[in-house]
């Protein structure tokens, strides 16, 4: 793994809103220290470690330190520690039992959430203000082969069980190169990112610039959540050129306008992680045109942790297009083969919708602990797409996953929380997305089978889902007629329920 180090990194957070510059040699020194303490803990190559560290020096040091020690890292997903309910505990246990980490890295003095504490040996990283010996970054050698595992990225399996995408160095390099080539990334670029590193987009936002020696301005995700305009202010102040965000972030900033920002340096933004609607892009472009945002900067992007991060994104400076109300996500990246097929696996004609399959050097070969597949096997993305004029358009999903703000929530998990809140038996709820292009969002709908329905029940469900999952549901009600569609074996048919809902039939 070849890292091209910039002179320094910039970090922004609650305790340092104006950003602080940290020499790369300090990060390298910190990484060498992490490698040392991992070895002292008895970690050997092929071991896995978990990280619970906020975006900053220690997160980078923990990533690179793991690689120096030959260890695979996993940045724990957001729900680990979001709440301390029983359900959150079971999801954390699920991740830890799949991951089986040798130890957990955290910053000294930070308190682990209750559901994480005491589960595996904990190692303290020195606080950022602790001086460590700097190390010349180029002397760090990441002696890892293409088949070695770089990291494990947890993703919401549609069944609700934690699934860890196994990303090997060969796949990581292939995807980084394909994306960097697509956008002509160079050492002149500067990435500004607040995306969390447990998310594929966040991890890419750090590794992509470092594959070309570009600058990195890394903001704590919590800082963005509390103050979204800090993101655009950072682009303005640091002359950021590239960044990444879910469409929800654009919506927030169209509503809460950043004032006195100069966005003229900004040349490319990967917009993805959830369905990208043209209305959201248009509104943001209209709002910030006067601040220097050019057309062709916002680029709807499609990808997933299973392909490291990217599958397709637009060519720099090229405007996104609209077909059938959907925004183009650019041509598929070099190195990918793709096909769009019907239910029997037969390729559909040009411009027709179907199931998107991909294969190639960026595609993982399986989830941790689950069946692996070969390099010639097609990977079913679970998404529905069509291709027109060489551009990919995403139109929906067949996997039972809900998305909001770039975060994924398995439908089964949302349903379980709702059923528990109402003391219903399992299999009495169906959660699904309902596209509202005119509002620029995927509405999240939850239908329940309940004999008596009143608004208090909707309130109980809404409160429980917000508390336990941090998710806002748009529509909560009993299914008309009191019944949800089921298979002959009694399983809830979410896609069918979603189709009926669109037609006003349920």
């Amino acid at each position: 793994m070849n890292i091209v180090w910039p002179e320094q990194f910039h970090f922004i957070g609650k305790s340092r809103p104006d950003s602080v510059a940290v020499p790369a040699a300090d990060i390298a020194g910190r990484a060498a220290h992490v490698a040392q303490i991992l070895r002292a803990q008895g970690c050997v190559p092929s071991d896995r470690i978990a990280m619970w560290v906020s975006e900053g020096e220690n997160q980078l040091a923990a990533m690179f330190g793991s690689w120096l020690a030959g260890v695979t890292f996993c940045v724990l997903p957001s729900f680990a520690g979001r709440t301390n309910t029983e359900r959150s505990q079971s999801r954390v246990d699920d991740v830890l039992s799949v991951l089986q980490p040798k130890c957990l890295l955290k910053t000294a003095g930070t308190q682990l959430p209750e559901n994480l504490a005491g589960q595996v040996p904990e190692l303290d990283l020195p606080t950022p203000d602790t001086a460590l010996d700097p190390v010349t970054p180029d002397t760090l050698v990441f002696d890892r082969g293409e088949e070695d595992i770089a990291f494990i990225q947890f993703t919401s399996g549609s069944t609700g069980g934690a699934k860890g995408a196994v990303v090997r160095f060969g796949q990581l390099q292939a995807n980084l190169q394909a994306i960097a080539d697509r956008v002509n990334m160079t050492a002149e670029d500067c990435m500004v990112s607040w995306a969390p590193l447990y998310h594929d987009m966040g991890l890419m936002a750090v590794l992509l610039p470092l594959s070309r020696g570009a600058g990195v301005v890394l903001m704590e995700t919590d800082h963005f959540v509390r103050r979204p305009i800090a993101w655009l202010e950072a682009i303005s102040r640091h002359r950021g050129t590239v960044t990444t965000a879910p469409p929800t972030a654009l919506k927030l900033l169209t509503r809460r306008k950043a004032k006195d920002v100069d966005l003229s340096s900004w040349r490319y933004a990967w917009i993805g992680g959830e369905m990208v609607f043209p209305s959201v892009l248009e509104a943001f472009e209209a709002e910030y045109g006067a601040a220097g945002l050019a057309k062709g900067v916002l680029q709807p992007t499609y990808g997933m942790a299973e392909t490291v991060v990217g599958i397709s994104c637009g060519e720099p400076g090229t405007n996104w297009l609209v077909e059938d109300g959907f925004a183009s996500c650019g041509p598929v990246l070099d190195g990918f083969e793709h096909r769009i097929v019907d239910e029997d696996g037969t390729p559909v004609g040009a411009d027709a919708r179907g199931y998107l399959h991909v294969r190639g050097p960026s595609v993982m070969r399986g989830y941790l602990g689950l069946e692996q597949f070969g390099p010639d096997d097609w990977f079913d993305t679970g998404d529905i797409a069509f291709e027109t004029g060489g551009r990919l358009y995403l139109t929906g999903r067949v996997k039972d996953v809900l998305k909001r703000g770039g975060e994924m929530f398995p439908a089964t998990v949302v349903e379980a929380v709702a059923e528990a809140a109402l003391e219903l038996r399992t299999g009495r709820a169906a959660a699904f997305s309902h596209l509202r292009p005119e509002l620029g969002k995927e509405e999240i709908v939850l239908l329940l089978e309940s004999r008596q329905w009143d608004d208090d029940q909707a309130r109980m469900v809404a409160g429980a889902v917000a508390r336990e999952l941090g998710l806002q549901l748009d529509v909560i009600r009993a299914a008309d007629g009191g019944r949800l569609p089921r298979t002959s074996s009694g399983k809830i048919m979410r896609q069918r329920a979603a189709a009926l809902y669109s037609e006003g039939q349920i």
């Binding site: 959540v225 509390r226 103050r227 979204p228 305009i229 929800t248 919506k251 927030l252 509503r255 809460r256 909001r404 703000g405 509202r436 509002l439 969002k441 509405e443 608004d455 208090d456 909707a458 309130r459 469900v461 809404a462 409160g463 889902v465 917000a466 508390r467 941090g470 998710l471 806002q472 549901l473 748009d474 529509v475 909560i476 009600r477």
Partner: protein, 86 residues
């Protein structure tokens, strides 16, 4: 809008207006919203909270910080804080 008294009912009306515009959950249209309800028990997430802060700011006619709302804030807390800002 300034000069109006900030009450639970006024905050509730704003919540309902945002639900009407599909920004906040639909159940808020019909639900009884009372003093003790919190941002969280009403079913809002951080994205919904930003929509609410933005509308409160417009209604109050004063700039509100982005972290004006906490998930544990009650509707009565919100009304009282806005009233205190005069």
């Amino acid at each position: 809008m300034t000069g109006q008294t900030w009450t639970t009912e006024r905050v509730a009306e704003i919540l309902r207006a945002l639900a009407e515009e599909d920004e906040l959950p639909q159940h808020l249209l019909k639900a009884t919203i009372s003093d003790g309800d919190t941002v969280e028990t009403l079913g809002l997430d951080s994205i919904g909270a930003v929509a609410l802060i933005d509308r409160l700011e417009t209604e109050a006619g004063v700039a509100l910080p982005d972290d004006f709302l906490d998930f544990k804030d009650t509707v009565a807390d919100i009304a009282a804080r806005l009233a205190a800002m005069g």
